[in-house]
């Protein structure tokens, strides 16, 4: 398959699994948007608006993580119930093209939610070129590692119901417990080091700089980017060697 054909396959998958179902049933959009917007609402109301900036940054990260959990459900369902992965395996489409197209299709669902967050980001006067580039870079990396993680796990599941166990755990471990929606200083000092085990802590640190919260120092930003990039590459590598494209 040439590069042009691969790109065509990725866009076809994004259209097939992203655009077509939404045109058939627009309510699908609410599924991805509901949780991040709920958190935004809850955090903002509970803090009397003080944590709005954290909630906007956290919401964007959660949107990207939702792409990973939705991908996990879709890939598991298509593999186990429809045997769609077997159809694709026996075709010119490589595993990474399949994941890329499917992950892009999940991104389509998150666009309305992202638009809401970007709107809030802009009207609060946080929009700068540096901020926009930081947001784009961080969200791209979170999307990539969440997708790699979702795909790898999905290929091991033998029933789509297993995703119902893992998705909330991933959500909890990567977006609710780490300081994504609140400042890390709010965590008790004893458990604060554990927050640094989550890559989303570094993503949030970078995004805080883009939403007018000061952000990390130059060295801190370099560490954040390195950890986030390293984690993403590690998960992409894990997906390439451990995901079950062909059954053992």
């Amino acid at each position: 398959m040439s590069g042009r054909h691969r790109l065509r396959a990725i866009l076809t998958l994004a259209y097939l699994n992203g655009v077509v179902p939404i045109r058939t049933q627009p309510l699908y959009l609410l599924n991805v948007v509901a949780s991040p917007l709920s958190f935004l609402f809850f955090v903002t109301i509970a803090s009397n608006g003080v944590l709005l900036d954290y909630a906007v940054g956290g919401g964007m990260i959660m949107m990207m993580l939702s792409v990973g959990t939705s991908l996990q459900t879709d890939i598991s369902h298509y593999k186990q119930d429809l045997k769609f992965q077997d159809v694709v395996v026996a075709s010119p489409v490589a595993a990474w093209v399949y994941v890329g197209g499917m992950a892009l299709s999940e991104l389509v669902y998150s666009l309305p939610g992202l638009a809401v967050f970007i709107f809030l980001w802009a009207i609060n006067g946080w929009a700068t070129l540096f901020g926009a580039l930081t947001l784009a870079g961080v969200l791209l990396l979170v999307w990539a590692f969440a997708s790699a993680l979702g795909f790898t796990l999905a290929t091991y599941f033998e029933d789509v119901r297993e995703t119902f166990v893992f998705s909330p755990l991933i959500s909890l471990g990567l977006s609710v417990l780490p300081p994504v929606y609140y400042p890390i200083q709010h965590l008790p000092a004893a458990i604060r080091p554990f927050a640094y085990l989550s890559p989303t802590t570094y993503a949030a640190d970078l995004i805080h700089g883009a939403v007018g919260l000061g952000g990390p120092s130059l060295v801190g930003a370099a560490i954040d980017w390195s950890v986030l990039l390293g984690f993403t590459l590690a998960l992409l590598f894990l997906a390439s060697v451990k995901a079950r494209w062909r059954e053992p």
Binding site: K83, F84, A90, S91, V93, E247
Partner: protein, 310 residues
């Protein structure tokens, strides 16, 4: 004729439960024809197809598909194959037209080529009227037909159809048969697994009978008949007792009479004797079902073997 698939001592043991689905299978599947794999549930048909379609790794032996090793050169095989897996279902939110067209685009076909192939296959399989209907609103048989349309429309040289007509009504089955015959005329290779022995016989240039993970018989339908011990069947109604028929061959009781498997000479003698006594009699070469019964010792629709899912 060159072989599309060559299996040598091919084995597959599933890691969970240590189930042996294929046991040192040797099989050559020629290019450019329909090859039928028949056998009961758990015989190893689907496992064989999945290994050949590069969806499953073997645990022993070798297999080459279109000249390439399935383990090390899967990437060179995949652009040239297409598969309808057993129990596969189409993505329910697509229309029939989208299902076929987008599959072809996914395989890298140009827009115009994909459109032309889609329209042609939908017409051939009598699906044009349903082209814009959501797959979720089709019957099970129609969905299966849409899946078959998808791979028949592709540019693949080797098609894997794992029980493609299960659940179809007789008319729909014939339409799928016609489309498979078209693939055959185009000199594409089709590996077909089926429970319907009439289908295997009607479509396949060669057949292999799998049982318990082993190939028990392989050849053209005519060759298979020659290889069985008793190649003729005589059904006799009425007047004969079982004892009178036993000297001619193997006797089974059937509704209102007996069925005798016999050598050609014995079958002729029995037929003449039956006619002489005014009994209704029919003599014919054995069917695939009869061959299956003689070789495996059970009918195809008897309860499945232990290696379920293989």
């Amino acid at each position: 004729m060159t072989a599309a698939i060559v299996a040598r001592r091919l084995s597959k043991v599933y890691p969970r439960g240590r189930i042996s689905a294929l046991l040192e299978v040797d099989l050559e599947i020629p290019q450019g024809d329909v090859f039928g794999l028949i056998g009961r549930n758990g015989a190893g048909k689907t496992t064989f197809v999945r290994v050949a379609a590069t969806q499953l790794l073997p645990t022993g032996g070798t297999m080459s598909v279109l000249g390439h090793d399935v383990v090390d050169e899967a990437d060179r095989i995949r652009p040239r194959i297409a598969a309808v897996p057993q129990e596969s279902r189409p993505l329910y939110f697509l229309t029939v037209d989208q299902l076929v067209y987008l599959y072809l685009r996914l395989r890298g076909l140009e827009r115009a080529d994909a459109r032309e192939r889609t329209d042609r296959v939908l017409a051939e399989l009598d699906l044009t009227a349903l082209a814009h209907r959501l797959v979720s609103r089709l019957s099970g048989g129609m969905r299966r037909r849409a899946m078959v349309a998808m791979v028949l429309a592709s540019d693949a040289e080797l098609l894997f159809l794992d029980e493609p007509t299960t659940g179809l009504d007789p008319i729909a089955r014939r339409e799928v048969w016609a489309a498979i015959r078209r693939a055959q005329r185009e000199k594409r290779t089709v590996l077909l697994t089926t429970h319907y022995l009439d289908e295997a016989e009607a479509l396949s240039a060669r057949l292999a009978l799998l049982d318990g993970g082993r190939v028990r018989l392989e050849g053209t339908p005519a060759e298979l008949r020659q290889r069985v011990r008793l190649p003729y069947r005589v059904s006799v109604e009425g007047v004969f007792t079982r004892g009178e028929l036993e000297p001619y061959g193997e006797v089974s009781d059937v509704n209102g009479g007996h069925l005798v498997f016999a050598q050609e000479r014995d079958a002729r003698e029995l037929a003449m004797a039956a006619l002489g006594r005014g009994a209704r009699v029919a003599m014919a070469p054995v069917t695939l079902e009869d061959i299956f019964l003689q070789v495996v010792g059970r009918r195809l629709d008897d309860e499945p073997a232990a290696a379920e899912g293989a």
